[in-house]
């Protein structure tokens, strides 16, 4: 008996422990090559001054001192990121509202659902372009034509540093709301009708029904909507590049756009400084990622 155990090969003896790792190996290898290692390379580059061509010059924390010690472009970009993060979350209640509106069985509801989902299907670049036409100054843009009929305007929303970022966020909210809506629509399908029935017998209706019965059951959908919205807010690069190119005079920059400008744009190639911005952005994202992971871990523990 014990002899036969000894005769089995090493792999056979450890099969249960080794096999999952074998399956994971290709994924881990590529994740390390394309994600993990570049993260550490960025850290390394951020301690240098480097134009991407010649020798790197070690500057220690010099890039960070300049970045965090009163670089105005950085401050503007950072606060724009905060605006994006806060205002983009409006997509969640708006998505919930539309999904409640559409969660009924009337003739042609599928068509309405697809129409509401449409903005998420088209590319962000197209959405940005359409909105920048909508906002065109003078009497060229639809917005100003509409405002003109009620005696307001004209406003140049994307041309004024005070309003440009909000104009872009509004454009971004359009597809993001559609995304949240679809998440909630699937979530609403999973709402337990018996609980709704029971609540109704207890006399709950209207916003009380919504708040105490429906929304708690939508918690998984809300969590996913929150995750994708936060990620979407930090990925606002496309809209900014298309709609204002960071302008007017840099007032709509966010950290990702600033990083691109410093390191990869026509007048850029300050790789060290760009990498330092990337590292700061990485830590901001890490804060959210840690929260998401922790939150998922708690859920799994609870489910066990």
């Amino acid at each position: 008996m014990s002899a036969s155990v000894e005769n089995r090969s090493w792999y056979k003896r450890n099969e249960i422990a080794v096999t999952p790792w074998l399956f994971l190996l290709p994924g881990i290898a590529f994740f390390a090559l394309y994600v993990i290692i570049p993260i550490f390379q960025s850290f390394w580059i951020s301690f240098h001054e480097w134009d991407g061509l010649g020798e790197k010059t070690w500057v220690g924390l010099g890039n960070y001192e300049r970045l965090l010690g009163g670089d105005r472009k950085f401050e503007v970009s950072f606060w724009n990121n905060v605006k994006w993060l806060v205002l983009y979350l409006l997509a969640i209640p708006m998505g919930l509202f539309i999904s409640l509106l559409l969660n009924q069985t009337v003739r042609g509801i599928r068509l309405y659902k697809s129409l509401f989902f449409f903005p998420f299907v088209i590319s962000q670049v197209v959405v940005g372009l359409v909105f920048s036409w909508f906002y065109l100054p003078g009497d060229q843009g639809l917005l100003n034509v509409v405002l003109g009929t009620i005696g307001l305007g004209p406003y140049n929303i994307l041309g004024q540093p005070g309003s440009a970022t909000y104009g872009i966020i509004a454009a971004g909210l359009w597809p993001q709301t559609a995304y949240c809506m679809i998440l909630y629509l699937t979530g609403l399908n999973a709402v337990d009708p018996e609980q709704v029935e029971a609540a109704r017998l207890d006399g709950a209706k209207g916003h009380k029904m919504l708040w105490y019965v429906i929304i708690p059951q939508l918690k998984p959908a809300t969590f996913i909507a929150f995750v994708v919205t936060i990620i979407g807010a930090l990925r606002s690069f496309d809209f900014i590049a298309v709609m204002t190119n960071g302008g007017p005079f840099g007032s709509t920059r966010v950290l990702s756009f600033y990083m691109f400008e410093e390191s990869l744009s026509e007048f850029g190639f300050r790789m060290g400084y760009g990498a330092a911005i990337a590292v700061v952005l990485f830590f901001i994202m890490l804060f959210f990622i840690t929260y998401f992971l922790w939150s998922m871990y708690q859920d799994e523990k609870g489910a066990r």
Partner: protein, 418 residues
Amino acid sequence: MHSIMKATVASLALGVASTSAFADGHALSGDLRIISDMSNPAPRAVMEGLVAGFGEQHPDLNIELEIVDREAWKTQIRNALTANPPDVVNWYAATRMTPYVDAGLFMDISDLWEEPAMADLASTKGAMTLNGAQWGVPYTYYQWGVYYRKDIYEELGLEEPATWEEELANCQAILDSGRKCYTIGSKFLWTAGGWFDYINSRTNGYEFHIALANGEVEWTDQRVRDTFANWRQLIDMGAFIDDHQSYSWQEAMPFMVDGEAAAYLMGNFSVAAFRDGGLTDDQLDFYQFPTINPDVAPAEDAPTDTFHIPSGAQNVEAAKAFLLYVTSPEVQSEINGGDALGQLPVNAAASVSDDKFIQEGFDMLSNNASGGIMQFFDRDFPAEMASAGMEGLQEFMVFPDNLDDILERLEETRQRVY
């Protein structure tokens, strides 16, 4: 269009006597790899014609041409020069060459410039010189200046202004007629750089402008403030179209085509767009930017586009022969003609197209640009200074009251960059 261009350049090439030591003696062979950024339709046809013509002369040479989008090339050139470099590339003159010269990626071709055939390119030698050596050859350049609606000027009884006072008086008359004096689209910033180049060089002279570009003068200097004060006269009058910060240079064009604005400070490449927009040569005309300070000689923006040999080139002999071919008078006359690039030839022995704007530009640059030739804001100033600078210029055009703040920011940038 393509085949016509190819045929004409090719037939022309047969007639070009090869005078160069590089092309003489023995036939060129092997591969010649060219990466070009001439991606717009007309330049693309010119580039393909050049390759066809040069291939005609050297049948044993296998030429590979790769055309890259012009905007994309501005960032791709770095990869192209470092990994498997080709034999010939396009780029721009002056400070724009610095990163590649400093990194040793462009080949020093000073020996080519000692060829007798290059004597006719002497006027452009300065723009190709860095650290006392030459790093490429030009193939075309174009003038900047004020393109204006002649019919509107005639309707209001105005003349082309020669001085700043006339300029301001004209502008007031145009404003009184319910139009704007100038259209401009500053969304992508560089158009404001043209205005700064002109007002600064007219106010303080070419030497001062270049000293500022080289970081030798503080941005908070009184002379810089004088420049902005002159500029502000126009801004305070309301000379520029509203909301220009939201338009690209093409989007600003309809204002002039529709007659809502009377003039546009632009490069000669805009003429084609004006004509496409429906303006005839009777409606469209050109004048040199007016004198501001009579004590300084006029300097002009005339950006130059160039060919270079990467230092990692494999077939240097063929590459040098190609550069000589491109700069020869016959090829220069052909590729800069009105039906090709429609710009100015770099070779003094080449003939200039009889297009009215090219003629006027050629005359202006030959006879009335004694101050010097600027390459344009984003080519004369180092990259980081240029991008911060143009952003500041745009802000000034929208909020002139922010000037002190803008200048302090630019001064801070200057101290770090140089």
